[in-house]
């Protein structure tokens, strides 16, 4: 019963978020029902669309799982976008230089992606622990540097034979494509989905059942006390960056090896920042990551249809995601305040 009660503010918040979404659609003169129908149909309407949604789900799961670790250590890993990009760049480098069959190449690309993301994350971590640069700004700066590097590689050293365009590098040779499994007439991204779900499971176990996880959470909730109790806080923070960055980097590998099959400038697909929204909505815990991430990529994938069918800017998907997170956060906080009986005016406002 209490569980049902606890879900009420969230449901109210979702309903309100939906209402605001409808109001916005009415403002720009778009038909709300048709818009929401297109959102659902565009993401889950057919076998091939479900497959596309699952393919987008995987990097989001990986990035979100990594963010749960950094959040557990009390870190705002805004650098996650850059870590996804560096993972994609490292995996592309392997695909372009290492010969051999797919069963050698694909694991190497996953490994390279993990290392690329890890190094980039630890860079932001060292800036924080040794340079006193807050991880938001260190990470953000490195995001843009990584994005710049990807663009440079695409139009420079790795440009397509003859033409330099921002549409991407040459397509990888087939061995560097993550294999799909054929069923119902379409290919299914089984490997990416397994990687994604595995990452969530590993992070859940890490934080729930290990001494490292316990200490990491201690560092996150009170770094000073943890330090006094003998936990090497800096090392734990860097450890969290390393794990979060490695998972984000694998998300980058998935993007190049299973989705684009080449490096493009916008290789991260925005899944890093979207992952932050997912983790905020999940209340920083790994348990709800998978369904929430599926819900969110559903919106993202579905919203690309709005542009094609209704001439509506596909940013509507992002607007909806943002409003949902904001309202659910408000709903949760409001119910906490009410439960503790303190929502009485104390001090204006």
């Amino acid at each position: 019963m209490t569980r049902v009660r606890a879900a009420v503010p969230t449901l109210v918040a979702l309903a309100l978020a939906l209402a605001v979404g409808v109001a916005l659609l009415l403002v720009v003169g778009a038909p709300p029902l048709e818009t929401f129908r297109l959102l659902v149909e565009g993401s889950f309407g057919s076998a091939s669309k479900i497959s596309a949604t699952l393919l987008a789900w995987s990097p989001l799961l990986l990035a979100s799982a990594g963010l749960v670790v950094t959040f557990a250590a009390g870190l705002w890993n805004i650098g996650v976008e850059g870590q996804v990009i560096m993972g994609g760049i490292a995996a592309t480098w392997v695909a372009r230089t290492v010969p051999g069959p797919g069963w050698v190449l694909i694991p190497l690309m996953v490994l390279a992606g993990a290392v690329g993301g890890l190094l980039w994350a630890v860079f932001a971590g060292v800036l924080k622990t040794h340079g006193n640069v807050h991880e938001i700004f260190g990470g953000l700066g490195l995001d843009f540097v990584a994005a710049g590097l990807a663009t440079y590689l695409v139009i420079g050293p790795w440009k397509r034979a003859g033409v330099a365009s921002t549409s991407g590098t040459d397509i990888f040779r087939p061995e560097a494509w993550m294999p799909e499994f054929q069923a119902f007439g379409v290919g299914w991204p089984v490997i990416p989905v397994i990687l994604g779900l595995l990452s969530v499971l590993v992070v859940w176990m890490l934080l729930r059942g290990t001494l490292f996880g316990l200490r990491l959470k201690a560092v996150g909730s009170n770094p000073y006390s943890s330090f006094l109790l003998g936990i090497p806080t800096n090392r734990y923070m860097l450890g969290a960056f390393a794990i979060g960055g490695a998972l984000a980097g694998i998300a980058g590998t998935v993007q190049v090896a299973a989705f684009h099959h080449k490096l493009v400038p916008a290789i991260s697909g925005g899944y890093g920042f979207l992952g932050i929204l997912v983790v905020l909505l999940a209340g920083f815990s790994a348990v709800w990551i998978a369904p929430i991430a599926l819900f969110f990529v559903g919106i993202s994938v579905g919203s690309t249809q709005l542009d094609l069918q209704l001439g509506l800017d596909s940013a509507f998907g992002g607007v909806l995601q943002g409003i949902i997170v904001l309202f659910v956060m408000f709903g949760g906080a409001w119910s906490v305040r009410r439960a503790s009986g303190r929502l009485t005016p104390q001090e204006e406002p």
């Binding site: 956060m329 408000f330 406002p349």
Partner: protein
Amino acid sequence: MEATFNSIIAAAAPLIIATMGETITEKSGVINLSLEGSLRLSAMTAFAIAFWVGNALVGFAAAAAVGAAIAAIIAFSSIRLKLNQIAVGFVLTLLAIELASFLGDSFVGERGPRVPPLPIPILSDIPFVGKVFFDHDLVVYFSYVAIFATWWYFYRTRPGLNLQGIGERPEAAFARGIPVNMLRFWYTVLGGAMVGIAGAAYSLDVKLGWRETLTLNLGWIALAIVIFGGWHPLRVAFGAYLFGALQVLAFQLQDVFPGVAQVLPIAPFPLMILALVFVYSDWFRRIGDRFPKMRNLLGSEAPAAMGTVFERE
């Protein structure tokens, strides 16, 4: 030469207004992380409203309202709902960016009203100085006022001292009868309104027109400049002018080295990291220690209670 300096002053003006607003907000103990989104949504709103009404001033007012509204959400959710300011600010950043793209779609490429130039009569005739500082429009003059007024308010008035108090030691301030949370709310709203005005300055004055990339990354830059400036209005202004100079310089170099265009969008970010490492380095700290009288100007410590929730015992 004087034309170059003139354009630096003009290019930096919106950034000055935004960073002064954020400095006031953070000095009171609240972080408004939403600047990247606030700037963009207010720039879009300013253009849309000004285009619709045919009057730039109305656009500025609407933009100030948008910036103030976003700031009010952050202040309310921090003060009353005890939510994390960074979390709410980040969500609002993404939301405002998407909202600007969604609602501003139909205004891309339109031509709207602009702020008329207004050289100050006698002052603009002074050789060099007049051309550089007084041959501008109201936005630029407002940026001068913002710097001076913020500095004067912080360090020369009683309410300014209280403002610093609620950002450094809210308990002590509260014990002295200062309504900590009410002041924090209104300083956050004021700072947000200034960010909104800065957004309007981009779409109606400095860059003219609306497109999604109009204020790209300038909000993040503004947040970094406030840190670089050590929360001191004059040093923050110095940082903003430095960035304005880089912008103008890069723009002029474009003709000489065409390759610069590709590097340009990301060049500020490695610089931002280096600048932050610099102001937090032991070396810079030692300089600060050598001149104790200039502690406010040379210190790099954030307001002690920044980002925290104050709750009466």
